[in-house]
Symmetry: C2
Subunit: 106 residues, 2 copies
DNA sequence: ACAAAGCGCAACCCATGAGTTGCATGACAC
DNA sequence: GTGTCATGCAACTCATGGGTTGCGCTTTGT
């Protein structure tokens, strides 16, 4: 489905760091994220938007700040694609596909 | 380690199609790949080079043609990263990490 | 009421990358 | 030996994307 958005979102190292941090510190804000990164808040905001388009994060406005939290479901699609590519000649990846199948969260 | 190269390689849709096709038809050549794609042979060759840099494919010269075949090992790293990000709040992804651990093929 | 904090939007650089054409080289067929 | 097929390399175009600055808006605190 939207595998393309997911892979695109994961392609950038800074964006992976953002996702990683959001996953570790749920409810973090863009300003807080930017404080630990060598980029501006606006750059972080853009990354969050890309991640949100891929449904990897979700933002909720709380007063004057926006709390971000990670939503892992789309990662399953990406893993499924990799497993499908690898399954033909690698049973280990086939096992991974088996682990994901039928449990796609929402 | 070289997770960056893997994610970058997987980011492009055409490149994913190339990898997909190479996985399905091991020993395929760049010219054959280009025949089924809306891009030129040189474009395919570039994609194959990127995939090779990420160690996702391997080319072997056989006479005047180069046979390409897929090598799945780096996908495990990518999956491991995703599983690590997701593991904190999603046990399904934690199960995936368990499935990959300790079996990193070469 | 006023100042500061946090955010979103828009315009703007600039580097990277996907794709192309052109050409030169090595291998196969006859 | 000559023509052809597949490849590799180089130069070039062009769009996309990561990053920035600047501004205006809403919310919070005093």
């Amino acid at each position: 489905m939207s595998t393309d958005l997911v892979f695109t979102a994961l392609a950038d190292p800074t964006r992976r760091t953002v996702l990683d941090t959001v996953a570790a510190r749920q409810g973090i804000t863009a300003t807080q994220l930017a404080a630990d990164l060598p980029v501006t808040r606006q750059a972080v905001a853009k990354h969050l938007q890309v991640l949100a388009d891929a449904a990897l994060v979700e933002g909720e406005r709380a007063g004057r700040e926006t709390r971000w939290r990670a939503t892992p479901a789309p990662l399953t699609d990406a893993i499924a694609w990799m497993a499908n590519v690898g399954a033909a000649w690698d049973d280990r990846l086939a096992a991974l596909e088996r682990a994901t199948r039928g449990r796609n969260g929402s």
